[in-house]
């Protein structure tokens, strides 16, 4: 069995990762860290290709919270890209953002919420928003491609000017529901 390309998303445009990339550039994001997800593949490629961005692959998402605290201490803005399972992995570390009041911008690709076929993805997918909110994170959900750029822009403003943890959850309606069938 091998992973296939995502099934057709309900949202019409597929170049929304480019909108995220342009928005991160507009907010002077210099450090991008991630545990890869298929939904972030194009954005990760765009960031890797940008000499003005430092991308760091993590072994687990909680490393990303600590990394971005260090980046902020050194004067750089960052963003953490992850799948929603990472929201479970970062819970304690995410407390640093509130305690130290540093910006924590998270871009979260969803599983387990829209037409999910894999039962193992459902618990964390359903718990992503409450878990993030329990740690004081503001969560913006996006289901339509045209809303991606403006939502990430608003989230970055809230994070970097408000010194606040903010997550944008990118729905499977946008990404497409993963299948292993074709």
């Amino acid at each position: 069995m091998s992973a296939s390309a995502p099934a057709t998303p309900t949202s019409s445009r597929s170049d929304w990762p480019d909108d995220i990339y342009r928005t991160l550039k507009a907010h002077d994001v210099r450090q991008v860290c991630h545990v890869p997800d298929a939904g972030h593949a194009r954005l990760i490629d765009l960031c890797n290709a940008d000499a003005g961005m430092r991308t760091t692959t993590l072994t687990t998402e909680e490393e990303g919270v600590a990394l971005l605290l260090g980046a902020w201490l050194g004067g750089e803005r960052g963003a953490l890209l992850m799948q929603c399972s990472g929201a479970g992995n970062i819970v304690n570390m995410l407390g640093l953002s509130r305690t130290c009041r540093f910006p924590m911008l998270m871009l979260v690709t969803m599983r387990g919420e829209w037409g999910e076929f894999n039962p193992w993805q459902i618990p964390m997918g359903q718990a992503t928003r409450p878990v993030l909110e329990a740690m004081g994170t503001t969560v913006h959900d996006v289901t339509e491609a045209q809303a991606v750029g403006p939502t990430v822009d608003a989230a970055a403003g809230l994070a970097f000017s408000g010194l606040h943890p903010v997550a944008v959850t990118l729905s499977q309606q946008l990404i497409g529901t993963k299948t292993f069938e074709d």
Partner: protein
């Protein structure tokens, strides 16, 4: 290292690591190393962590990437480092030349009742860092090796990691300010100038 007599006092060892530190940027782990670094002298160029266990080395990585012209030293404990071992792989891959990690290893969880950590059973954190691909690693047992590691931590292109074996003696609590926002702001102001906190 099981059963080995630790030769160094943790306060003396950390004081040596931080002596004449110049503009060295320091991130501490929570607990013992936070108090040790504060006992050596509280300064805005310390970022002492009171929480976020397992994250100190990664804070050091983010800082070293943002400030490539400054040396960064993470001073953390064996229990704290054991909680974030994946960071050794991440740091080795990111390859920050200006980052060194000192693991102050008393083979105990010092804040919770001195329970044995895995290093007491022989787990070799320096060996793990070597296997991850750190440029230079060592296990420090005496003052001359400590002096050598201290020099390397400020001059050798890293990442470097030294495990410094220390005694289990109880030492007095010496606490830095505990407000994380204050610690962050004073650090940024010291590194980036006043506008950083506006």
């Amino acid at each position: 290292m099981t059963g080995q007599n630790a030769l160094l006092d943790r306060r003396d060892a950390v004081k040596t690591l931080l002596d004449d530190r110049g503009d060295l940027l320091v991130v501490t782990g929570l607990g013992g190393t936070c108090w040790d670094c504060t006992a050596a002298g509280d300064t805005p160029l310390n970022f002492p962590m009171w929480g976020g266990m397992g994250g100190a080395a990664m804070v050091g990585l983010g800082l070293s990437l943002a400030q490539p012209s400054r040396r960064v030293l993470v001073v953390t404990g064996d229990g704290e480092m054991l909680m974030g071992l994946g960071a050794l792989a991440t740091i080795s891959t990111a390859r920050p030349a200006n980052l060194a990690i000192a693991v102050i290893d008393n083979e105990r969880y010092g804040e919770t009742g001195m329970q044995r950590t895995h290093t007491a059973a022989g787990v070799d954190i320096a060996g793990m860092a070597t296997a991850a691909g750190f440029v230079q690693t060592c296990t420090v047992l005496d003052e001359s090796a400590l002096a050598e590691f201290t020099d390397a931590s400020r001059s050798v292109a890293g990442p470097l990691l030294g495990v410094i074996k220390v005694a289990t003696d109880k030492v007095p609590l010496v606490m830095p300010p505990r407000d994380g926002a204050l610690l962050k702001d004073r650090f940024r102001e010291a590194v980036l100038g006043t506008p950083a906190t506006n």
